[in-house]
Point group: C2
């Protein structure tokens, strides 16, 4: 049983520390503390809006029951910040395991790896993969409905939406599964593929294999990555979209955001345009449509959120909800309608 | 000075051996022989339609003047065929250098690397890269015109078109450069970035850096990869498109091809639709338009090629030519018109 202390030093806020936030949300029983000296004595709830009374500590020895250090921040580039290296070395020196979703692989870092070899720490690089197969384009199981969360931008909640929909469908008795495609999702779900760290020639192949491995299920909720209009990550988004070949998509966005996150000079594309682009681009491989919108309304009041939901519902003529604020039922209903329609179509084709 | 023997064993035909064909076309003075036991005694010209009297030999010792073995085939997956391994080991044992564009890195292969260490062979893995930066989205030099070759499919001639246009523009006295993005282009040009082997998070960043490194030139002809509708490689295509942010695109296709190469059950998208898709997707980052079409008419007679060119010219209302059959002038003129128009626009904006 892992007991996690989550390193968020210098980045304990909801967007940067999204790995931390979502592990607190979905694996709360595993989390002992957050590590951020600047916020010692506060709680995860105060800083991240999730995690309840989980304490923020300044040093590893303030959470002696922890047996694993989790890197709680996803950096855009591949490097390890210098001040983080010291904390990791300290943890490894104490014999803690380390779980990391960084592009900088800890096991390939000679200093960290050698210290781990002597202390007995295990290093888990969640993004490491050896995907080396192109997509086959082979037929997928017709009775497995593939639903994919796609976004207007990074960090809008595509993973949360896929997870919440999956959990809600399972709670209703459906055979649904969350298919993780990013490091946080993999840490939460325990399996998946870190698609943004796959060599670009093999992105669609890796996504296809992930679907094929899970297609015995009735409904897959496949976590999206990046955005098809994102100047940095569109390669990841499109390769994943074509590899997982969804029947249906949920378009995710954050209310109030106007520019690409981290690139304030680049305006976001309108939802209506993105809906058309996603449908057209997905359709190059498999007919697909956007069946609902997931709004992340974390920065809105209840009244503002209701108004925003109504506005987008009217604009796009689609179900809209914030799965954390409103529950997922409006979107699970859309998924189940899609499943019924497809089942009727498959039956009529077969007869 | 490298003197190449090119390994094409079992694959000495134009599409599979496209690395061999294009090194023969653009670096003929470096090539000593092709290695393919099944075709011993024939010439490169007979088998590949290029390379003149370059002989095909069955064994390394039949080309004793060679000092470098070049892997002349680009395999889709990452593995090294067993029978090729023997030839590579033999070459390394003889002290030849080896140049490879495979995803399987020779220097990471313990048996090959250890033999090379003792024989003094150098192993050049052209696809190896350490790209670890996301795109910055920073402004590029306005007076550098970025032209990108994009395709209906793989293996239609995107590299050849970019190279031929670049050479023709240089011959006319323009400051143009071919920007290589694939292993063959890098081998021919001597620089570039193997974009399809970059980790997907960093594809656009790598493409952007490649443009920034060359933007002192007046005109860049940036080699395209894959196709935006390709079920295997669309990630590479879109990441490159967004990273290099072209002002203009040349749409490349092979006449007579109806299905995705290697995936006969997947029909190609029509050129008119691809034109719209490429313009729309490129436009998410930088306004761009298709300014011409490059047809690869290798399987047509002269009369058929003329008819095909006329048909597409009428259908799309764009300049169309086969750069190898017709020369590149129709497309270089389109590039130069685009450059004049942009220069006027930049001058008028500045004044």
């Amino acid at each position: 049983m892992r007991r996690l202390i989550i390193l968020t030093e210098g980045f304990t806020e909801p967007i940067a520390a999204k790995t931390a936030s979502n592990v607190l949300r979905y694996r709360p029983h595993e989390v002992v503390a957050l590590l951020d000296g600047a916020h010692r004595g506060q709680t995860a709830q105060q800083l991240l809006g999730v995690g309840g009374s989980t304490p923020v500590v300044a040093r590893l020895d303030e959470a002696p029951q922890a047996n694993t250090l989790l890197i709680g921040v996803a950096f855009a580039a591949g490097r390890l910040p210098a001040r983080w290296r010291q904390v990791i070395l300290q943890a490894v020196g104490l014999g803690l395991d380390v779980v990391s979703g960084m592009h900088h692989f800890l096991a390939d870092d000679p200093e960290i790896a050698s210290l781990a070899a002597s202390s007995g720490s295990r290093l888990f690089d969640v993004r490491r993969n050896d995907e080396r197969e192109v997509a086959s384009g082979r037929a997928m199981r017709e009775n497995c409905l593939r639903v994919h969360t796609v976004g207007q931008d990074c960090c809008v909640g595509k993973m949360v939406v896929a997870l919440e929909l999956s959990q809600a469908l399972v709670a209703q008795g459906h055979d649904a599964k969350f298919v993780a495609t990013g490091q946080t999702g993999i840490i939460v779900e325990g399996d998946g593929c870190p698609i943004d760290c796959v060599v670009s020639d093999f992105v669609s192949g890796a996504a296809e294999r992930l679907v094929l491995a899970n297609q015995r299920r009735d409904i897959l909720l496949i976590e999206g990555q990046g955005a098809i209009s994102h100047p940095r990550y569109s390669a990841v988004t499109l390769g994943l979209l074509h590899g997982c070949a969804p029947h249906a998509m949920i378009l995710c966005y954050e209310a109030g955001r106007t520019a690409v996150i981290g690139m304030p000079h680049i305006p976001l594309q309108p939802l209506g345009m993105l809906r058309k682009i996603y449908e057209m681009m997905a359709g190059l491989v498999c007919p697909s449509r956007v069946i609902g919108v997931a709004v992340n309304s974390r920065r809105l009041s209840d009244a503002q959120a209701t108004a925003e939901r109504e506005r987008v519902r009217n604009e796009l003529g689609l179900p809209v909800c914030d799965v954390l604020r409103d529950g997922a039922s409006e979107l699970t209903n859309a998924v189940l309608r899609m499943r019924s329609a497809r089942q009727s179509f498959i039956s009529s084709s077969a007869s």
